[in-house]
Amino acid sequence: MRIGRWSRAAQVAFVVGLALVVALPLYWAVSLAVRPGSDVYAKRIVPSSFTLQNFQELVFGRDWAGFKGVSFVVPLKNSLLVALAATAFSVAISTFAGYALARFSFRGRELVSSYILLAYIFPPFVLVVSLFRLISSLGLHDSLAAVTLLHLIIVVPYCTWMLRGYFLSVPRSLEESALIDGCTHLGALLRVVLPVSAPGVASAAIFSFTLSWQDMLFSMISLESHEKFTMPIALLAMAMGDLVQWGKLMAGALISIAPPAIIYLLLQRWIVGGLMAGSVKG
């Protein structure tokens, strides 16, 4: 394609402008998080001095949103716990389902595939009232177990669909020889297919983790007590009320942004492959 020099310059200007818009909220978050508290209302665009006080107070202090006694490490730990548990469980059951959908031919396979895809796309807000009733009737209200269970409906369909796609790309001949040698399907999956599918399983696990990490709605309907809060609702609580501590709030937001951002930037290449099969909501 031949394009004039000036129109090319305009194009590059467009993406550079876009990059600045992307930077704007991030700049402010960092700039507020590292400036001293007295600076927040001083109408300064650039901090007067640099300090890590906000981060220190979040980690070591116990007063980040008006409720005493809980360090910000607690919601961080809760979010990690929930995301890890949901991911581990999802990967375990999705591996079998994904493999079955990719390799076995059985009646209803198409139906099951569509069912899983439907669950992946289905908007959670429609189910939120019934899910609240479900976990309450199970006696799980105000527990991290409830959040973990609810996250399964976000994570499992995605994980299964992605692993199905990955297994489809693994050549059949690999396990066929194992099956001829008398290996069971289970044995073939565990000993032959899984070892070569490590990249697929790893990326399914990583995306599952970030999906669980992103969710706020299910935490909101499940949790009441502060020591059980996950990251999103801890930040939400900090953002409420008349006296918002902006520095700490932004420091907390940056802490919640770091894990997925680091994971994605490191794995950018892999993401595109999984995109069409389904990916992180946005």
């Binding site: 394609m1 031949r2 194009q11 590059v12 467009f14 993406v15 876009l18 990059a19 909220p25 402010w28 978050a29 109408k43 665009i45 059951i93 999705s94 389902a97 079955a100 076995f104 059985f106 099951v112 569509s114 899983i116 895809l117 439907l118 796309i121 289905f122 807000f125 429609v126 189910l127 939120v128 009232v129 019934s130 609240f132 009733r133 479900l134 399964l152 409906i153 990490w213 992103q214 706020m216 990251m231 999103p232 930040l235 939400l236 953002a239 709030l249 932004m250 907390g252 997925p260 951002a261 930037l265 950018q268 993401i271 595109v272 995109l275 069409m276 099969a277 389904g278 909501k281 946005g282």
Partner: protein, 284 residues
């Protein structure tokens, strides 16, 4: 015999999870919507009264209108900006890789965290107004009744355009180079190549990405709740916010369920289309 049972055993846990946490709750929502909302005790069957109430108060029609405005604007802008960025980044220039990684960042930011960042950026004495003030421009009430809808669209586009950018970039790389060479030999201009080679090659990618994003945007909760909570008043009260407010703000689970059930037909068609498309795509 054993062969036939194995596949079902293997898919059973996943199908079970989806049934317990999606299908069953869906039926429950329909049941709830037809019964009285009073907590505890026997819930009386009230027929369509919950639906009538939602329509009569204007709460539901209003939320539908706002959801459509939000979804339409946000989706169109995400596609336009993401698509333009993809086309520009597809051709080499100095610093391209760095720029691509940088533009990708908002997509990695959790929805709630994006809301928190914008909370400071857009508040009256916040980041954007501070910068405008330095330029001598009067502060704008970004989260006031007139601008709140634009603000949540801004946040949603900021967060969501990279999705289109990287999907379309990936789609562009799949279009065979020979097609452009052939077009060049036939004397096609840049615009003609775009119209007859690039666009047809991207058709499915754009369609799927747009549909996916439309359904997600339609159901968006986190962004809006963190930034405006549906306010001021009901200025940004979309369907997801309405359902949450009715069920957990007013503690009327039945009314909340009714609003959820009533919003289903609005996007069921999109979901059906999407499932068909992705199934077709994954077969090839």
């Amino acid at each position: 015999m054993k062969r036939q049972i194995v596949p079902y055993l293997w898919v059973a846990p996943v199908v079970g999870v989806i049934s317990v946490f999606m299908l069953f709750p869906l039926f429950q929502a329909v049941w709830d919507s037809l019964h009285a909302g009073s907590a505890g005790g026997q819930k009386a069957f009230v027929g369509l009264r919950n639906f009538q109430e939602l329509m009569a108060t204007g709460a539901f029609p209003g939320a539908v209108y706002r959801t459509l405005v939000f979804t339409l604007w946000a989706s169109v802008l995400k596609l336009a900006i993401g698509g333009a960025a993809a086309l520009i980044l597809n051709r080499p220039f100095r610093g391209r890789n760095l720029l691509r990684s940088w533009l990708f960042i908002p997509w990695t930011i959790p929805l709630f965290a994006g809301g928190i960042l914008f909370l400071w950026l857009l508040r009256t004495s916040g980041g954007l107004n501070l910068m405008l003030e330095h330029l001598g421009i009067f502060p704008v009430f970004w989260l006031g009744p007139d601008r709140a809808m634009q603000s949540i669209i801004f946040l949603n586009v900021w967060k969501g355009f990279p999705f289109f950018m990287i999907t379309i970039l990936a789609g562009l790389q799949v279009i065979p180079r020979e097609l452009y060479e052939a077009a060049e030999i036939d004397g096609a201009t840049g615009a003609q190549q775009f119209r007859y080679v690039t666009l047809p090659g991207l058709r499915d990618v754009i369609l799927i990405a747009t549909l996916l994003s439309t359904v997600w945007t339609f159901a968006q909760f986190e962004n809006i709740y963190v930034l405006t909570r549906g306010g001021p008043g009901t200025a940004t009260e979309t369907l997801s916010i309405l359902v949450y407010k009715l069920a957990f703000g007013m503690f009327n689970l039945s009314l909340g369920s009714a609003a959820a059930v009533l919003s289903l037909p609005l996007f069921l068609f999109f979901i059906y289309w999407l499932v068909k498309l992705v199934r077709k795509e994954s077969e090839t």
